[in-house]
């Protein structure tokens, strides 16, 4: 009786483990020295596991349809999008690095900021591979500070620019006549309209950038953040920031007792009319949301007079990627003007170009100019004129933690 059970179990186990075949191992040692044709031919017919944040249906759809079908057509590569937050895949890689697991399941990553820094410092990324990609060489302005540095951390060819973002505020023009255009004005506005404003809690990406945005105006600009962190100096430096945020707190949504856990919730509050302003890192995202009927038609975006934080997000390949060649080919395609322009369309995604528009051919430049950005969006020139860079990545976890202690947990509350 029991022999039989055991046989069944064993059979099942074999059957099941058969299902989990990993991607075919490719010869990858010398990918960094081989030429592009070899890389492409190695990549053909493989599957690329693309790990990326999965909370935006439009971005998912863009990857799953546009990218996926192009890769299939051009190189017979299947792109397998895996939805996972950056913190989580970094953690996963960290575990794999610790036990030195070869043949990891991640081939391509969407990454930037402190996650890139962590990944680099723990030697979790493979490269430098950037200069292997023809489109990178052709269309990317390699010396530009927002491409050579990721939140102040040198990129060194371990990642390639995927797109650019700039922090903007969204407001309902039907309800807010004169939107606040600086930290000072915001404080006054929030005091005049209690309960109508809030920001996502750190370490949410957007919440975190809002805190830095305020920090630039009330405490210290990006210029005053050297690569080396001096905690004591920093504590003093940030004192006005916590003062400002705590002054704001009682007038926030829910009197600041709690904060929306992420951008999506903030957007939902805005869509439901609970608050009158939201914010995001994609300047044309609002237009897309209006178009989809999720946001009021009277929504508008704006930047602060002294500028808002802009940054670049990148693509990277983990140290143990099973299919590095495939990942490189996909990354190269994502660097192409076609992909970048498609991504730029607010209806598809609305992400700013990661490559340099001036390096593009004329026809592509015209295409970019022809894309309607939607009524809610600011013209590219306005955005460019109001862009300020990020601070070094190392400060970000520090600030986020300090925010939790100083503001969220509410010392003296």
């Amino acid at each position: 009786m029991f022999k039989r059970y055991i046989c069944i179990i064993l059979a099942l186990a074999v059957l099941i483990s058969g299902c989990s075949t990993s991607a075919k191992p490719a010869e990858q040692q010398d990918l960094l020295t081989s030429d592009w044709e070899t890389i492409v031919s190695t990549a053909e017919g493989t599957t690329v596991n693309f790990y990326m944040w999965g909370g935006d249906e439009r971005i998912n759809k863009w990857v799953d349809t546009y990218v996926s079908s192009n890769m299939k057509e051009k190189y017979n590569i299947s792109v397998n999008r895996v939805p996972m937050d950056a913190a989580e895949f970094i953690n996963k890689l960290l575990g794999e690095r610790q036990v030195n697991r070869e043949n990891g399941s991640i081939d391509l990553l969407w990454i930037n900021g402190e996650n890139f820094k962590t990944a680099r410092e723990a030697d979790m990324l493979w490269g430098p591979f950037a200069e292997k990609l023809p489109n990178f060489n052709k269309y990317v302005e390699k010396e530009a500070p927002d491409v050579a540095f990721d939140f102040g951390y040198p990129v060194n060819g371990y990642e390639v620019p995927y797109g650019k973002a700039q922090f903007v505020f969204t407001y309902d023009s039907a309800k807010v006549a004169n939107p606040p255009k600086s930290a000072e004005e915001l404080l006054q506005w929030v005091k005049d309209n209690p309960g109508k404003f809030t920001y996502p809690q750190a370490p949410d990406f957007t919440g975190s950038v809002f805190i830095r945005q305020v920090m630039y105006e009330v405490a210290a600009g990006y210029e005053s953040f050297p690569e080396e962190i001096d905690e004591q100096r920093l504590e003093g430096q940030l004192e006005p920031l916590w003062e400002y945020l705590n002054e704001l707190k009682p007038y926030l949504w829910r009197k600041g007792e709690t904060y929306p856990p992420d951008l999506a919730v903030l957007d939902q509050l805005y869509a439901d009319g609970e608050i009158l302003m939201t914010m995001c890192y994609h300047p044309t995202r609002t237009a897309g949301l209006v178009e989809q009927g999720l946001f009021p038609k009277t929504s508008q975006t704006m930047v602060w007079e002294k500028g808002t934080i802009g940054n670049t997000h990148f693509l990277a390949i983990p140290f143990n990627a099973s299919n590095k060649a495939g990942a490189m080919v996909v990354a190269d395609f994502l660097e192409s003007p076609e992909a970048q322009i498609s991504k730029y369309d607010p209806l598809k995604w609305g992400d700013l170009l990661g490559i340099d528009i001036n390096k593009m051919e004329k026809e592509y430049q015209d295409q970019v100019a022809d894309i309607p950005l939607g009524e809610a969006s600011l013209p590219a020139s306005v955005l460019a004129a109001h862009r300020v860079p990020e601070i070094p990545a190392g400060y970000i976890p520090w600030i986020e933690e300090a925010w939790y202690k100083e503001v969220a947990r509410g010392v003296g509350n």
Binding site: Y5, I16, S20, N49, G55, V99, R101, A271, Q292
Partner: protein
């Protein structure tokens, strides 16, 4: 009596209205703030599910085969285990019983985080097998406990009668035990399947994004507040687990309809 009626009606509405709102949201195009009904209906959520790129069908397939395998293995190995505990006396029995109850009380978060790195090291992470094994630790307590109750209730008399009638173990299983455990199989498969089917955390942690089940597709949408897609996915979710339960009930005919009982 009247109060009871009001009470039961209230309960009924509390159970039903959330479903109605869920269905409404899944067919919404625009639902402006403050309005009681959507101003515009649409199929955005359902279109998303039907689009091949969304991988909803693929994840449903993964979910079904994962939970199906978990259910099958869980039930098969729980039958002898339940019988052993119900009908035999042996050294360390109470320890075994405690061990079998423990995973219901000890949170999966502790087990999952504790074993994660070892799973990575031995190649069980990111694999179907790894997820299957970790699901089993969660479902086994339920199925074993169900069969303990079933065998306890049936007693040893049927087995003994079978022995005196010269039935060998297979005949006893086929013609006696099978009928005794049928209700347990229905309840057990419904319970185990759904515990596995709705498992998010362990699949996410151990599957590492390689084993994408329906909850993994659903979670980001709930998290990101895309109510329309989250609603239609949720409905697919509920429908498929209900469907499985009906199939299980039909496959394992249970004429006495004893399966409505939880044997926990």
């Amino acid at each position: 009596m009247r109060l009871n009626k009001i009470f039961s009606l209230t309960i009924f509405y509390l159970l039903i209205t959330p479903f109605i709102v869920l269905i409404l949201w899944s067919f919404t195009q625009t639902w402006p703030a403050g309005e009681l009904l959507p101003s515009e209906f649409g199929f955005r959520g359902w279109r998303y599910i039907l689009e091949p790129h969304s991988k909803v069908w693929h994840s449903l397939l993964v979910s079904l085969s994962l939970s199906g395998a978990v259910t099958l293995i869980s039930l098969i190995i729980s039958i002898p285990a339940g019988k052993a505990i119900a009908h035999y006396d042996f050294v360390g029995k109470s320890l075994v019983e405690t061990l079998i109850l423990a995973p219901i009380i000890v949170p999966p978060i502790a087990v999952g985080m504790g074993i994660h790195l070892s799973f990575i090291k031995y190649g069980l992470a990111d694999s179907f097998l790894g997820v299957l094994l970790i699901h089993l630790t969660v479902t086994l307590p339920y199925s074993v406990r169900i069969f303990i109750s079933v065998f306890k209730a049936a007693g040893t008399k049927w087995d003994e009668q079978g022995r005196t009638l010269k039935a060998n173990w297979w005949a006893r299983f086929r013609y006696i035990t099978w009928y005794l455990i049928k209700p347990g199989l229905v309840t057990g498969s419904a319970l185990v399947f759904n515990v596995s089917f709705s498992q998010y955390f362990l699949t996410f942690l151990i599957g590492g994004g390689k084993v994408i089940t329906l909850p993994l597709i659903l979670f980001p949408f709930i998290n990101s507040g895309d109510r329309v897609i989250a609603s239609s996915l949720s409905l697919i979710f509920i429908l498929s687990s209900l469907f499985f339960m009906i199939i299980a009930e039909k496959c394992i005919e249970d004429n006495q309809r004893q399966s409505e009982f939880y044997y926990l």
